[in-house]
Symmetry: D4
Subunit: 203 residues, 8 copies
């Protein structure tokens, strides 16, 4: 690809047959590709065409080739506010890694326990960009952006219920972050957040 | 009144004539009363009937009698996340005071500068209830509730623009606060937040 | 825990494996814990690690240790507007009890039959805080708050259909309660409502 | 008109010239007509063409001919939850009266003071239909419909602020009234509520 | 019941056990009752306790006693805009009938084929009240209300997809009907619409 | 212009200076141009640069050159549901005319008076495309599309109040029209509706 | 049918029995008919009554008679922005074809790869109307409408997740297209888009 | 400031007195500061305390010190989709410049005229980050992100009317951009977009 980044295929809305056909094209052309939001009934469709591809079940991601390139650019630090945000955080981390960045993932650092955030201050300040996945109140990016000088990529997650409205609550929090330097992507968009982070931390 | 608390009159949607008539009844009956959300063109209507009433222009509140009762119960600490949230925070503080509580007001302690929040930790932990007025991301109540054991009354404000949607963004944040113990009231409802805090801190 | 209250684990968005891991940590550390919104396929994950834990199927709650502490502080009265709101009301009641409060639960006291509300007046006025779970029009907290001097914790439920919008209708009603003293929490948030009530009724 | 009811002209979105032209047609044809939501800058446009018309400034209504017909059918009782809902309640009452019904208007009977509602029980039970105008939580129609056997016409008003969302909160409450027999009309639609009530109470 | 109308039990959000317990009470007390929105897994719970009850699968209604009373009052005409709105229309018709009214049901009279509406003009004008169930554009109540002098009860249905938003589109249409005399109830609320119609057409 | 249609300038969000600069360019280049949504304080900015331009105050449109071209293609019939929708309908008509179509405008043909719609049947059936501007319930396009075989361009207007939500109610109605053949454009977008109609009726 | 177009039956919200009954009527009367949004459990209901009907599983459409008429009028070009939008695009294409138009379908021409759009320029400019099915950002119709002089029928699809809100994001984009000449239909409404296109490209 | 970037003061929701007090503190402390969203009645409050500050009326920004620092890091290219988006685009550009970046601003490059976008390809590909301000359909960031490898900061603007909903339409488009690498900020948030861009293009 012109940009030097792998292609991506959003699998969820496609039929297994459509996914299989695309995977076959990928295999034929040898194009580095990330298959994202892979439903359980689609995994085989990809792995049949690309048997050595890497499947991460938590992140719902299949990457081919399975090994990420040697890392270049700055460090991408990914924070998962709660255990439940892990799937999205992991999708972001893997995406950034397959786009060529070094990454660190830290789980369960919500604002309800500030000390756990503050304990990561050195790691956070060593990053070229921080990615934060958070649901419910989506307060973590505001707090983190107040602590670091680099950009923060904020990924609202659909974790929560009731007035979380499937991620609308953290989405709005993040768009209204009172600290500057917060870049928002779509709800549950771990792929997009990881891609953006990799571009920010490039070369 | 049966509850022992002053009456309240929501002035904004009323005509000056309606407000004047109510103020005259208050004067005649001698009922302790808070006039809330008093528009500039309504202030005279109240003060004509109740010349010694106390008018706080920032809080848009007129209180009669002008002096609050001697405080009883626990301490009510009120935080204003930004300077722009002051009007709402002040309305909450005055309401709690006129309902008989001791109060402390701290301004400009947003999560973008965590150190300013942490600097208030002793005061916060001395409170029976903390009231937090915040707009934009509405992240402060989550952070504060993680630091104290007492209830936090969260008042979303309409400060902000765009996707703040007139206070919807902080309202949703607060309803989804990831720390327990957060009691939410209506957007810009300083009166309601102060009243609730006074009831919590009673006796 | 610093606050002296049990920890809580929101199980619904987690995998059974994640829940099992957390339950094992709880068992190892001996931390008093409430597992909330436990899905049927997660119950065993908790009970395997904590065999003597108490599981309340209606409230979808698992509590460990199984016995609540001896009650201190004021009385928490919980009202369920309809039979269908019982799950949420029960979650609130059990939470308050495991945080150390005495509780009373009254079911089926909707505003369509005012006499049933008025029949509870003595009980209501003996409470330090009243918790009200209601769906559909969410009118009960306004009525109750007009009858008592203590705070009312209002929990909107997702009971209803059509323009109830999964709890939005009662949520908005409660935020706009025409009686002061109403503290709103998230839709279906029995845990949060019970926790807040326990804090209000503390010592 | 075929239905035997006066025509109605919604003035607010029209230019004064358009209103004047319509009023001139009414005068020429002698058609009984209600001019509704008449802006201050439109009143003269109507009264110039119909000098003996009756203008009610509170209800923003101009009626011609000025005298309502002798009443037939059942009694229409109109309740205004707060003083601020009076304009809408009055528009409903006048409409029903000019459509030929006997009416009674009772102001300031919100659910925050249940005794004031219960004090009207005999009047309410003598009605063929009750009209209720209420803003904020919109709880009154549920309570009233639980007390009477006749239909209740519920008019949500835009009174309130913040999460009242210009009348959405009471609109949703009323659509989800837990007592059956509640007929909802548009926000602030005093004319429509009064018209519907007159049709229900006809003959 | 005080009102002389049967009780109603909203079954959908209840467990089969809760429904069974209520049905047993109904059987013991001999209270005429409508069980509404009965899920398939709840039907037996009702019929076990009340074996002679009448179950209408289309309307998802169980009525006991099975026979409606002899009709009194005026005629209730029910229109179903499309075949897909039939379930809601039938629920409204049966409710009105069990509350003691004579009813007529006409199916598939949408505004896309005006001649089919106009063909019912005599029937429509013989009604004391017309009930209209319609989804998608919800345009039928406006058209019908322009043709008759009696009230029209408008029931928006969730039939449609996309920007129908589960019934929001017809709900808003009906609230903004350009003909007066339209009484709106909740989306898919056949029970409520039939109950209201029965009250309007009473004695 | 490549398409052979005049350019259009959306004036409302621009400063008078920006509008004046654009008008000067138009004058210099001799480009046929429609200035749309021209605020009163912008009219002079246009007319100073283009003194012979045609200003239609109702439609808020300035056209240059002032004379539309000789009409080609099919007939565009424009319906205004109410008098209040006239500004939008007129903007659509003038746009279509300046793009080279013959037009007819019919005002005040809402569905509340079906006979007025039916009286236009011959004209409607002579059209190559019908444009319908309607607010409130937005029911007219459904009715018209059921009567004609040609496409119907539906323009929702912001006429109405309360639950009309500034045109959302008719917008949703029109998107869910139960007759096929309805093309929807933005709320109050008379320009867009007229442009689309001219393209449909071209050649 | 009066219009000379086939009838359409929206199957999704109907029971298989209702669909079977309608199919039997179609068979008896010999009416050309499109069965749209046919659920898998409804296909047999149609094919039993109309064994020679054509079933397109991708488009979820059953057409009878199976052969479209010989094409007349102008060319309808259908674009599918992504593979995932194919079902909707195909429904539109088949509908237009069965209404008597020649059609061309081009898949996977999103704005993320502009060169693929530009590669279709000759085809696009040969069309009498272009239909565009797109989800997510819905940006394609704006781009296409800027490249062609004929009308563009824009069909938002529910493809996407999170803040795509089931098609709301592309729906709003399309309603606000910055190029004129865009006709919007309901989310996922391939039938409606194809019907409108056929009418525009008629004769 | 710890980050080495100027402070920012959001002026719009503050009173002129509050702004004057803050400006005085800035003058006293000599802190580099950007005053954003400065209302006309607030400009003097700033300039009195900081007479040599630079006021940009289009961007509603006051910068002190008036000269930006010598640029370091990569190039920030700012695109304004339409003339009406200029205020926001200019606020972003000035912010980035005062944070120490070289900037280029290009106006009026909407997707309706793709050739104008393509004409900027060399400039776009020389950027370290591209900022795009766009209202209405918000389609430009998707198109631009497909053409460049660097991150795109997308700022939705409130330009538009009707279903643009004050910037919601472009906000949703941008969150759902079908090209990866799009970082979204709040509606009209030129300051935030410029700040984020400066951080991305740092060092
Ligand atoms: N600022 C306020 N916000 C919300 N509720 C208020 C406010 N001020 C007064 N109220 C409530 O509104 C009631 C008075 O309403 P009214 O009779 O219309 O003045 C009081 O009993 C208060 O509970
Ligand atoms: N289908 C229904 N839709 C709306 N309200 C209903 C319905 N069925 C019953 N109700 C109302 O809900 C009340 C019963 O609620 P519950 O006690 O929870 O069964 C009755 O008094 C009815 O007024
Ligand atoms: N997929 C569809 N989407 C929207 N409208 C449709 C669809 N299929 C059929 N229709 C319309 O719905 C009407 C049929 O509705 P029904 O009688 O309920 O099947 C037809 O006249 C069509 O105009
Ligand atoms: N135009 C703006 N939009 C969004 N946030 C801003 C804006 N201007 C300043 N801010 C942020 O708001 C904070 C200042 O808020 P305040 O103390 O209320 O002036 C700054 O630290 C900025 O991060
Ligand atoms: Mg920072
Ligand atoms: Mg706490
Ligand atoms: Mg009270
Ligand atoms: Mg009743
Ligand atoms: Mg009528
Ligand atoms: Mg047609
Ligand atoms: Mg074009
Ligand atoms: Mg790119």
């Amino acid at each position: 690809a012109r940009r030097g980044y792998p292609e991506a295929v959003l699998c969820e809305p496609k039929t297994p047959d459509q996914v299989a056909a695309i995977a076959a094209e990928v295999a034929a052309a040898g194009t580095p590709t990330l298959f994202t939001r892979v439903r359980e009934d689609q995994v085989d469709a990809v792995l049949t065409a690309l048997p050595d591809a890497h499947h991460d079940a938590v992140a719902r991601l299949v990457a081919w080739p399975p090994q990420p390139p040697a890392p270049t650019g700055g460090l991408v630090v990914v924070l998962s506010a709660g255990t439940s945000d892990l799937a999205v955080a992991r999708e972001a981390e893997l995406t950034a890694r397959h786009l060529g960045r070094a990454t660190e993932l830290v789980v369960d650092v919500g604002v309800a326990g500030l000390h756990r955030v503050l304990a990561q201050l050195d790691l956070l300040r060593s990053a070229r960009v921080v990615v934060v996945a958070a649901g419910m109140d989506g307060a973590l990016p505001s707090v983190v952006a107040g602590l670091v000088s680099c950009p923060v990529v904020a990924i609202p997650t659909s974790v929560g219920y009731g007035a979380a409205f499937g991620g609308v609550a953290p989405l709005l929090s993040m768009l209204n972050a009172c600290s500057p330097g917060v870049a928002v992507v779509n709800i549950d968009n771990g792929y997009g957040g990881g891609h953006l982070a990799a571009q920010i931390a490039a070369g």
